[in-house]
Structures are given as structure tokens and as C-alpha cells.
Amino acid sequence: MDPEAHSHPQQYEPLRARARMRPLPRWGTAALALVLGPLAFLVRGSRQELWDGGDHLLIIEDNGYAERYRRVRYQEVEVLQHWPTSDYLQAAVLLALGAVGYLALAGWLYQTTDGDSLAIGPAAIFGVSLVLALASHLVRGPTTRVRLRTRVQVIELPVLGRRRLADRVLPRLRARISSAQEDLAGAATAPPQAPTGTT
């Protein structure tokens, strides 16, 4: 037992990874936006952040009024997996279809009713909000999923849902984990198929 962990406060360093948790997958939010327009983007979960606690990774879930903390000790991380997902393409296609559809509807109503239809405004607002959401989605880049396994659990890190962010944070995590397990490297049994460390 390490009494240090229970007697001294930790100093944390930000890993600059912060994102909203999603109650729906990206394509689900995009599909909801086709029906609810800009209101769909208000359906958001709590914010997740990653902080480096020296010997552990601190995962913070922040709902705005309280923070919940989870700790994963670097020494116990066995594997870190990440892979690209198709969310990026699916959400982009849905948002683009919705934007084109609503803007076309607004234009068609404007043409056929000489601008008298009350539906022109809402259709234009829906179309423009979908265009903005599409632009934001494209700018933030491709999507990915990251998870890590310790001896007793597999933990998803939805905060690293964008490849650009994951590419920035994962090397730091790998370095921390490798450094924490330096003493294990010699004693560990060789892996059956791949060398230890990064891919």
C-alpha cells in the first residue's frame, strides 16, 4: 500500500482535452437536427476533461454545477486502443442533406409565394443552422474512439472523439504510461504477437 496517495494533495496538469459527452451518437444528433433544427444542438451531456495527475489520469465529468472524478493509475493500464469511426462521414452527409433540403425549401417557398409564406423564416433558420453545424463538424475533423484497459475494466474516453485531439493527447498518455511502467518492462513476459510500447 502506498500511503503517499492518501496523504498528499495531487498537482494536476491539463492534457487540454475537453469535450461534451454525447447522449446520442453524432449521426443521431445530425438526424435530430433535421427535425428540431438548431434546438437539436442543445441536447448535450456533461463535459469531460482529462488531466494528468503524475501517477494517474484524472477523468473529470463536469455538469456545470458539480465535478465527478475518476482516476486511472498509469501503472495499471494494459492497452490503449484507438480507431477511426464512420461517424464523421455519416454526420456530415446528414447535415449536408438537411442544409440543402431546408435552404431549397426556403428558396422554393420564397419563389412560389412571393415571400409571403410564414414557413420561409423557419426553413431558412433550420438550413443556416445546419450549414453552421456542418462547417463546425468539418473543421473539427475526423472522428475516432479511444479506450483503455486496466486489469479490471475497459474505459472509453469519449473526450478523445476527434482524431486531431487524440493525436495530440495520446502521445503524452503513452509517454506517461510507459514511464510509470518502466520497472515492469524488464520483468514482463514478452507479448505473443507485438512488441510492447507503441504501434
Partner: protein
């Protein structure tokens, strides 16, 4: 199959992911990047049982950090260490190891808190709601309740609480002035 939180599976076909495999699922060919660390390959030998009351694990099971001869069943929700069923203390929905449980018992807010309420932000949220004076008073009550309690573990700034205090006091002052003006007949 029962859900096993320790089971690492292929994201596509849900087959068990082979130990040490860095790229490809043997069952469906799905590719990903996996970084394996020495912890995955360290010997996990659990000593033979020493008594009938023991519940030793198999040679591939993780072990409790307080009892290396016992199989770990859960991670401590506070410090993340692995503990066995004997050590695990159930505190509501949380599983704690004995040191973290002791810390939680002896101090309302231990060194390794699992959550913290952000009173400053709650007060700020109330103080910007334009329903004064009730929300301003509520903000002051929240600030009083949270006084002396630690804020965010990673951002211990008191700035939101100070802004909330100023806004709430401004609202109450403005309300008092309006009441005084109304009482003096200034609006007649």
C-alpha cells in the same frame, strides 16, 4: 454472455481481442491501433490458497493491492487501485478501498475526492437570472452554504463566487433603491 468489464473485444465483431495484437482482429479483420504496455504481460501469479476462507483467483486474475493473494474484483472509485471483495467497501453507489473509506469518514472532503460541488458556479448561475431579488437571495444562500468548502479539484479559483456575490449584492441594492423610490412616491 454476461457483461465482463475486463473483456477487451473487437469494436466490430465483439470477438475477444487477442493479447498483444496491435492492429488486426483475427476474427473479422477490423484494423485499429493498440498500444500494449508492460502491465499487460507481467506475471499474474496468484499464490495458492492458504485457507478455506480465501477466494484465490486463477493465474491470470488481477490481485488486490492490499491482499496480493486474493483476486481483485473492482477498482476503488476514489483512488483507482484494485481491491478484492474483502477490502471493497460499498458506500452508496461507490466502491471504495479501506484507506479511501477511512479518509472519507475522517474528512468530509478527502485528498482524493470523487466529486465536488461547484457552489460558485451555482451562485453565478442564480445571480445572472433576472428574477431579483429571489434569485439574488438564493445566490447568497448558496454562497453561504459553500463558504469554506473546496471548489474544483483542478481549478480552485474563487472568481465565479466573487462575481456572483457582486452581482447578487448589486441586484439587492437596485431592488432596495427601487422599493425606496416607490415608497417615496417617485413613480407617481
Amino acid at each position: 454472455m454476461a457483461f465482463d468489464p475486463r473483456r477487451l473485444t473487437c469494436p466490430r465483431c465483439q470477438a475477444d481481442w487477442p493479447e498483444g495484437e496491435a492492429h488486426r482482429c483475427a476474427a473479422c479483420g477490423f484494423t485499429l491501433h493498440a498500444d500494449w504496455f508492460p502491465a499487460a504481460f507481467r506475471p499474474r501469479t496468484v499464490p495458492a490458497p492458504t485457507g478455506a476462507a480465501e477466494s484465490p483467483g486463477s493465474t491470470t486474475d488481477p490481485v488486490c493491492y492490499l491482499h496480493p493473494q486474493r483476486r481483485a474484483s473492482v477498482p476503488c472509485d476514489q483512488c483507482g487501485r484494485l481491491v478484492c471483495g474483502l477490502c471493497e467497501v460499498q458506500a452508496g453507489p461507490r466502491h471504495l478501498c479501506p484507506p479511501c473509506f477511512d479518509a472519507a469518514q475522517t474528512r468530509a472532503d478527502g485528498e482524493l475526492p470523487s466529486s465536488r460541488t461547484l457552489y460558485g458556479r451555482i451562485a453565478l448561475g442564480l445571480s445572472v437570472v433576472p428574477l431579483f431579488p429571489p434569485t439574488a437571495l438564493a445566490a447568497l444562500v448558496v454562497l453561504a452554504v459553500g463558504r469554506g468548502k473546496p471548489g474544483s479539484l483542478v481549478r480552485p479559483s474563487r472568481f465565479p463566487a466573487r462575481v456572483a456575490l457582486v452581482l447578487a449584492l448589486l441586484q439587492l441594492t437596485a431592488f432596495s433603491v427601487l422599493v425606496a423610490l416607490a415608497a417615496s412616491g417617485a413613480f407617481d
